[in-house]
């Protein structure tokens, strides 16, 4: 129950005896079902409901992405973890303005801290100081809109450094479609992070539709958006810098026709392989005093969020300490 599988070639995924098989025109690969917890599908896939039943039994999520690498949707097994008690408390934290604001601030505080660490490593003092200013202002925010706007300002400052860090053309953030290679990488990385977090949320009793920073109506599973604010700088941005600075990705991994950029299949393969490697990396956790994987950081943050919602502890977002 640990690995993520990525399907890049078109084919049929089916239940074969008591495990999974992926068949293409030329080959059949057996995937041991005990070893899977996510399947990401970037290609055309044929399957039937028998497969979905089987995936459901084994608590495996199937995520779909379109031709351009945009997130389409997921098959998520029926929630096994249900706690009416927690959902009621979670809703209360949304409805109570002060409580909601506190959590929204916490997510942005985590995001800013992690963003700043990325810049700090590169000794960019001026931008760091400006970011610190915003961080202070965050404490005095009184509305969600203010919190959102601080986040947007910090991100703008942060992105203004990206051309220096990577040496690649950036300009600014553009989506649907991403205007250049860096934007394509951010969009792709964010989509992968979002689904990783969504999967973890489904393993807890938290309700993924009740969010605090984002409006619950904004997207289907907006709690995943809230939590990914904290993790994007660590999971996505650092990985992008690494891939570019080590020359693992270059111009040929992008399709730049019609004034936009998409990662090619080869580029996606490199990205997800490195993403997986990172998720399996371990660090010593200060409170638990044992080594944990990067991917477990998400679950631990959700536990902290649950404890906050149960009013047992105050939520402090994951702040990189390395």
């Amino acid at each position: 129950m640990s690995r993520t599988y990525y399907l890049f070639s078109a084919g049929t995924l089916k239940r074969k005896d008591n495990t999974l098989a992926f068949e293409t025109d030329t080959s059949r690969r057996v995937i041991p079902v005990e070893d899977v917890d996510h399947i990401y599908c970037f290609s055309e896939l044929n399957f039937n409901t028998k497969l979905l039943d089987f995936l459901g039994q084994n608590q495996i999520c199937l995520h779909f992405f379109d031709y351009y690498g945009n997130y389409t949707g997921s098959f998520i097994p029926r929630e096994a973890q249900l706690s009416g008690y927690l959902v009621v408390q979670q809703a209360e934290h949304y409805l109570d303005k002060e409580k909601r604001l506190m959590l929204a601030r916490a997510f942005v505080e985590g995001a800013i801290h992690n963003i700043r660490r990325n810049l700090e490593k590169r000794e960019d003092n001026e931008t760091c100081q400006k970011i610190d200013g915003y961080r202070k202002a965050l404490k005095d925010t009184t509305t969600i809109e203010d919190v959102m706007s601080i986040e947007a300002h910090v991100r703008k400052l942060y992105y203004s450094q990206w051309e220096d860090i990577t040496g690649w053309e950036f300009g600014g953030r553009s989506k649907r479609p991403p205007g250049n290679a860096l934007n394509a990488l951010i969009s792709f990385g964010n989509a992968i992070t979002y689904t990783t977090i969504l999967k973890e949320i489904h393993r807890t009793a938290l309700n993924p539709t009740i969010s605090f920073l984002h409006e619950p109506s904004e997207r289907r599973f907006s709690l995943a958006l809230d939590v990914s604010e904290v993790f994007k700088p660590v999971f996505v941005d650092r990985l992008i810098f690494k891939l570019i600075n080590l020359n693992m990705l270059n111009k040929k991994h992008f399709d730049t026709r019609v004034n936009s950029a998409y990662l090619t299949e080869e580029g996606r393969k490199i990205f997800v392989a490195e993403f997986e490697k990172m998720m399996e990396k371990t660090i010593l956790h200060r409170n638990l005093k044992r080594k944990i994987k990067y991917k477990s950081l998400v679950r631990l943050d959700l536990y902290k969020l649950i404890k906050h919602i149960l009013k047992e502890d105050t939520y402090t977002p994951m702040k990189v300490w390395w």
């Binding site: 129950m1 096994a80 973890q81 249900l82 706690s83 009416g84 008690y85 927690l86 393993r203 807890t204 009793a205 956790h285 409170n287 638990l288 477990s296 679950r299 631990l300 536990y303 902290k304 649950i306 404890k307 149960l310 009013k311 047992e312």
Partner: protein, 178 residues
């Protein structure tokens, strides 16, 4: 109107054997588990997985396996002069809790008019069996425990963590200590 004792009895029927055993291990775990914040199946805890495999593989030939009775789940029964309840456990670390879990099963069955006053606790990994009897004195103690469990579950907050050495091996460790 229902009188108080009847209401309490009705509540008791929602208490599972697992909850009774947790009462003797950790009340925080009892509270969290009962509120649906159960982490046994998602924590990847090695002991939990070993226990589940043991449960799935041992005593396969017993005819009355995994018997659901009200909301207690009995591993298997044996029949003789009376009904005997059997429960399989991985390690005898929390033997006292296991004994009370089994006694609760016997108690529930008796309340339903089943002729049962004894059971057997199996520790296949240790090649060990423990015979259990439910005495009149046990019944009083058990009723006291059930009442306590009710009180714990009525609390708005989970009880504090134990900070015991065995916490590190618990499926709830990450949750409690993060």
């Amino acid at each position: 109107m229902m009188n108080d004792t009847a209401a309490v009895e009705l509540e008791w029927t929602r208490i599972t054997g697992t909850l009774v055993s947790y009462y003797f291990i950790c009340r925080r775990k009892l509270w969290l588990h009962a509120k649906g914040l159960n982490l046994e199946n998602v924590s990847g805890n090695a002991d939990v997985i070993k226990g589940r495999i043991l449960h799935e593989t041992r005593f396969k030939r017993e005819s009355s396996r995994n018997f659901d009775f009200d909301n207690v789940k009995i591993d298997f029964f044996k029949y003789g002069d009376q009904v005997y309840v059997h429960e399989v456990k991985k390690s005898k670390k929390f033997e006292e809790a296991h004994i009370w879990q089994l006694k609760y099963y016997i108690y529930t069955l008796q309340n339903r008019g089943v002729n049962c006053s004894a059971g057997v606790l199996h520790y296949p990994a240790n090649m060990r069996k423990v015979d259990i009897q439910l005495t009149e004195k046990d019944k009083d103690l058990l009723e006291q425990a059930l009442e306590d469990i009710q009180h714990i579950l009525q609390e708005d907050h989970p009880p504090a963590r134990l900070d015991k050495k065995f916490c590190r091996k618990c499926a709830y460790f990450d949750f409690c200590y993060v």
